[in-house]
């Protein structure tokens, strides 16, 4: 044993000498090992501090391939523009949603004072694409099925063959049918673009794409070269024909939907005019400005909500509706009482006077709010879109159609079932007889004009969601509104409805062939010819006063 001890001592001595000689290099070695253990993730970080897109791209590639647990949060932060760097201190920091700073290298909270030159790591479109692809492959196994679905979609788009192993694993583990289908499609997309994949696999992949049946699938099929094996080519031809048929069918449905949507916008803009022009016979050139006032009312309401009660933003339109009706209606009544009532029966003077009023209103709004566009936000329930079969339906258009329907029904009901409506119809059909039975025609005139203007104001609330809110907003709608009312038949609400929808749908079916400019001209020519044949529009109203 003592011998052993001595031996041990000698060994220790030898080791000590060994260490003394080798210490510097050993430290280096250990450091290198530590670095290697920490992985390429840490190595990649300095690439994010140079503010160069190509360095960021290289670092991104390294991070996503590092396998580090920190990679996904880092990429997510980069995507959300929460990743910051300091070029001086070569530090990369993640800013959390609640404003705290984390050290990207460790994932721990950052201690000490943040560097003075901290700024966001900048992105361009190429980087955003790379980032989506990288995040896609990293989140394929996420717990949230929606995240997995998004991940599958971004893999479908990136078609990166390197994600295949992860994709296979995710596919085997996937329980959710929707996500599973998306994963299958992503796999098919990769197989289709991989040149050396077996022909049988390709045929199966093409079948998956055929069932997807949309333009993205079509785009993928276009990439298959003409020198592929014959059975693959046959499958491609069959799938393409299938998708084309599918797309053509949905294209028609989509055109109908667009036409309906445009028609509802036209109807909304014209329905107030159908009252003032159609029922009262006043050529109201300031009608568009009532729409504009409604839109500006929405803007003001949203401004107040934004500064005082941010939580109410989703209700801003609901609050704006009655206000817009009141504002535009009050202005309408004021115009009727101060100008138009002196001009009944003198259409030319009315036209000029109301046109002048429209200019005054425009300039007044320009003076009050400035000439630039005002931002009117979409509440959350009005933004975005969803797929219905093969067409994309945007929420704002859907709600506007629904809303137009409600306004139309309410107006129709009002005219038919209320006393005011009855009196309005009486005055329209025979003014002197109505006056003789005791209806105060002057009051009815003012109220009718106010009602038409108020409805134009409501239309402004809806139009603020799809058009820009500027002093010129109304000008764009005045011609179209007159067209709808004249085409549909003066004095008839149903005529306005049919007229608006016909024009909307005709416009949308012409546009793909003729282009927007020619399409519009074609519609105008059609209306001119139609008016030649039927001067009173589609649904002419019969009445003694109308004849006069």
């Amino acid at each position: 044993m003592p011998g052993v001890v001595i031996n041990m001592r000698g060994l220790f001595d030898r080791i000590r000498i060994f260490l003394r000689i080798l210490l510097p290099s050993a430290v280096l070695f250990v450091a290198a090992v530590a670095n290697a253990v920490a992985g390429p993730y840490e190595d990649a970080l300095p690439g994010l501090t140079t503010d160069s897109y190509s360095d960021t791209a290289a670092a991104l590639d390294q991070v996503s391939g590092s396998g580090s647990d920190l990679a996904a949060p880092l990429l997510q932060a980069l995507k959300d523009q929460r990743l910051q760097f300091s070029a001086v201190e070569k530090k990369v920091l993640i800013k959390t949603a609640d404003g705290k700073l984390l050290d990207a290298a460790t994932g721990q909270p950052f201690a000490g004072t943040p560097p003075a030159d901290l700024s966001n790591v900048r992105l361009n479109n190429r980087l955003r694409n790379l980032l989506d692809a990288a995040l896609g492959s990293l989140t394929l196994m996420a717990a949230d099925p929606n995240k997995r679905y998004d991940a599958a979609q971004s893999v479908f788009k990136s078609r990166d063959a390197a994600t295949m192993p992860v994709l296979e694993k995710a596919l085997a583990a996937e329980q959710n049918a929707r996500v599973k289908a998306a994963l299958m499609q992503a796999k098919a997309a990769i197989v289709v673009v991989t040149a050396d994949a077996p022909a049988a696999d390709k045929v199966a992949a093409i079948a998956v794409l055929r069932d997807r049946g949309d333009q993205d699938a079509m785009a993928l099929l276009q990439t298959i070269p003409a020198n592929a094996p014959p059975d693959v080519l046959a499958a491609v031809t069959e799938a393409k024909a299938n998708i084309e048929r599918n797309l053509a069918l949905w294209g028609t449905v989509q055109n109908l939907w667009y036409g309906l949507s445009l028609g509802s916008v036209l109807l909304l803009a014209a329905i107030g005019l159908a009252i003032t022009f159609g029922v009262m016979g006043v050529i109201n050139m300031a009608h568009g400005e009532m729409v504009m006032l409604g839109a500006y009312t929405t803007f003001v309401v949203q401004e107040v909500i934004r500064t005082r009660y941010p939580g109410l933003f989703d209700y801003s339109l609901t609050i704006a509706l009655p206000l817009a009706f009141v504002v535009a209606g009050a202005v309408g009544i004021a115009i009727e009482r101060s100008v138009i009532r002196f001009l009944y029966g003198r259409p030319l003077e009315t036209l000029l006077a109301t046109w002048g009023i429209s200019l005054v209103l425009q300039q007044a709004v320009r003076a009050a709010f400035g000439p630039t566009n005002k931002e009117v936000g979409n509440p959350s329930w009005m933004s975005g879109a969803f797929d219905l079969g093969g067409i994309l339906i945007t929420y704002n258009r859907l709600w506007i159609i629904v809303f137009t329907g409600i306004v139309f029904a309410a107006l129709l009901g009002m005219l038919r079932f209320t006393r005011l409506g009855l009196e309005m119809r009486a005055v329209t059909q025979n003014r002197s007889m109505a006056a003789a039975v005791g209806i105060r025609t002057a009051r009815i005139d003012a109220l009718t004009f106010g009602l038409g203007s108020g409805i134009a104001g409501i239309a402004g609330v809806a139009l603020s969601q799809i058009d820009n809110v500027s002093p010129n907003l109304g000008q764009g709608y005045i011609i179209d509104s007159f067209m709808v009312v004249v085409f549909g038949g003066v004095g008839n609400l149903w005529g306005t409805l049919v007229g608006a929808l016909t024009l909307g749908i005709a416009n949308k079916f012409l546009e793909p062939f003729a282009g927007a400019v020619l399409g519009k001209i074609a519609v105008l020519v059609f209306i001119i010819l139609f008016i030649q044949k039927r001067p009173r529009g589609m649904f002419a109203l019969k009445g003694r006063a109308i004849e006069a």
């Binding site: 333009q215 993928l220 630039t372 799809i466 058009d467």
Partner: protein, 441 residues
């Protein structure tokens, strides 16, 4: 009916109301009182303050007033104060010519800063030629023009459209292979798209990979066109949209893009007429990554720019007031004019026109712009991506300043033409026939 009684009773009210309305209209028309003192140099401002173009042009009027104010603080020009004469052509093209005549003949202004649309510029050209005055035109335009009396401080197509397309073809821009050229239906988009089509074809892009689409002014329903763009973009090749859509139509266009979920990473849109001012009316979060090509962005980090923005926001008393490219063009043009007048020692238009080529003035992005013999200037070109806050992040820029070319070398009708007002004294000299007076296409 007893309407007459009513109307008689309230006629005074109506008259008063009309008088008030007239007052408002006159005040809005900007009828500034002319000629306060004789020892001032008058500067004409010809920008629409009402009508469709007021959205863009009002800011330019304010810019010139601001610049005059600054210059007067420094003691004016040639020892005299500058005095602005503001008129409102009301977005009405023939009225532009009338107001220009009024400025030059009646108010005797020594220079005019004005116009936005090409059609308004074309409308005032004969007036400036006839009365021999000077016009500084600050907006990017379609080129194919060079007049002795006009100085173009905005971008010619080779200073905006061509570099933007080059960027999109590069690796960073996404190596775009398929192009949608979408524009409003008037002279600027049509000429620009003609040049771009010729350029793209020269670069080997096939006919079927170019889709040209025009829409009327103020087009509001973009559903079909955006769906068409989406369809065109899913042919398996990287697609981009080059937008020369002008004015109000941009807002519904971008809204529809956002709603139909077309992201910049799928189909980027590069716009030539959308700047900070136009984005002010939009929720820009869905638009992040879409592009704009300009010669100036408010977000460019430069000491001169920071100083200008600060002074501008102080002058307008609005800490959020944005700056934009045509404003910068006016800044450059104004300083060039001041320098030229001081060098010439007179406001005589002939002498100032002779001195202007070669005059240099700093731009707001760190360079020195120079007036060229063809009456265009040298400018840097920037490509910016829209950020979530409505500003632009510059993702690409030219190394040097690009000299503006009056005549495009890609159009058959203009490739042999050069403009040179110094040696050749000609705006459209044909280098093949060696004659002045060739025509553009």
């Amino acid at each position: 009916m007893n309407k007459s009684v009513h109307s008689a009773a309230s006629r005074p009210t109506a008259r008063k109301w009309l008088a008030a309305a007239a007052g408002v209209a006159m005040a809005a028309a900007g009828a500034f009182s002319p000629a306060k003192a004789q020892d001032t140099i008058k500067v004409g401002v010809l920008h629409s303050l009402s009508g469709t173009m007021a959205i863009s042009e009002t800011t330019l009027k304010d810019t010139i007033l601001f610049l005059i104010d600054e210059q007067n603080k420094k003691g004016g020009v040639l020892g005299k104060k500058l005095e602005a004469v503001v008129v409102d052509p009301a977005s009405n093209w023939p009225l532009f010519a009338e107001k220009a005549r009024e400025l030059i003949a009646k108010d005797k202004v020594s220079v005019v800063f004005g116009c936005w649309t090409s059609v308004s510029r074309k409308s005032v050209l004969p007036v400036f030629k006839e009365l021999n005055s000077i016009l500084f035109y600050p907006v990017q335009y379609e080129g194919e023009e060079s007049e002795r009396n006009v100085f173009y401080t905005g971008a010619a197509p080779n200073q905006q459209a061509i570099p933007a397309v080059d960027y999109l073809m590069s690796k960073d821009g996404g190596e775009v292979k398929r192009w949608v050229l979408a524009g409003t239906d008037y002279v600027y988009p049509r000429t620009t798209n003609k040049i771009l089509e010729a350029y793209l074809k020269a670069k080997g892009v096939k006919e079927e990979d170019i889709l040209v689409n025009y829409t009327p002014f103020g087009h509001a329903d973009w559903q079909t066109i955006v769906a068409d763009i989406k369809k065109f973009g899913s042919a398996g090749k990287k697609t981009a949209v080059v937008s020369t859509i002008n004015g109000d139509a941009n807002v519904p266009f971008y809204k529809e893009l956002g709603n139909q979920g077309i992201k910049a990473t799928d189909i980027p849109v590069v716009a030539f007429s959308v700047g900070e001012e136009e984005l002010a009316g939009l929720d820009t979060k869905p638009l992040v990554g879409h592009l704009a090509a300009w010669n100036y962005f408010q977000s460019i980090k430069d000491a001169k720019n920071a100083e200008f923005i600060k002074a501008w926001q102080t002058y307008t008393k609005n800490p959020k007031r944005v700056t934009n490219d045509p404003m910068e063009a006016h800044v450059i043009g104004f300083h060039m004019w001041v320098k030229a007048v001081e060098k010439a020692g007179t406001i005589d238009p002939d002498k100032v026109i002779d001195v202007l080529p070669g005059t240099e003035a700093p731009n707001l992005t760190g360079g020195i712009s120079k007036m060229l013999p063809n009456h265009h200037i040298t400018k840097p070109v920037f490509i910016g991506e829209i950020k979530a806050d409505g500003q632009f992040d510059v993702v690409w820029q030219t190394k040097d300043l690009v000299p503006g070319a009056a005549w495009s070398s890609y159009l058959p009708g203009s490739k042999d033409l050069v403009a040179d007002w110094v040696t050749l004294k000609c705006g459209n000299y044909n280098t093949v026939t060696k004659k002045c007076g060739g025509s553009g296409s």
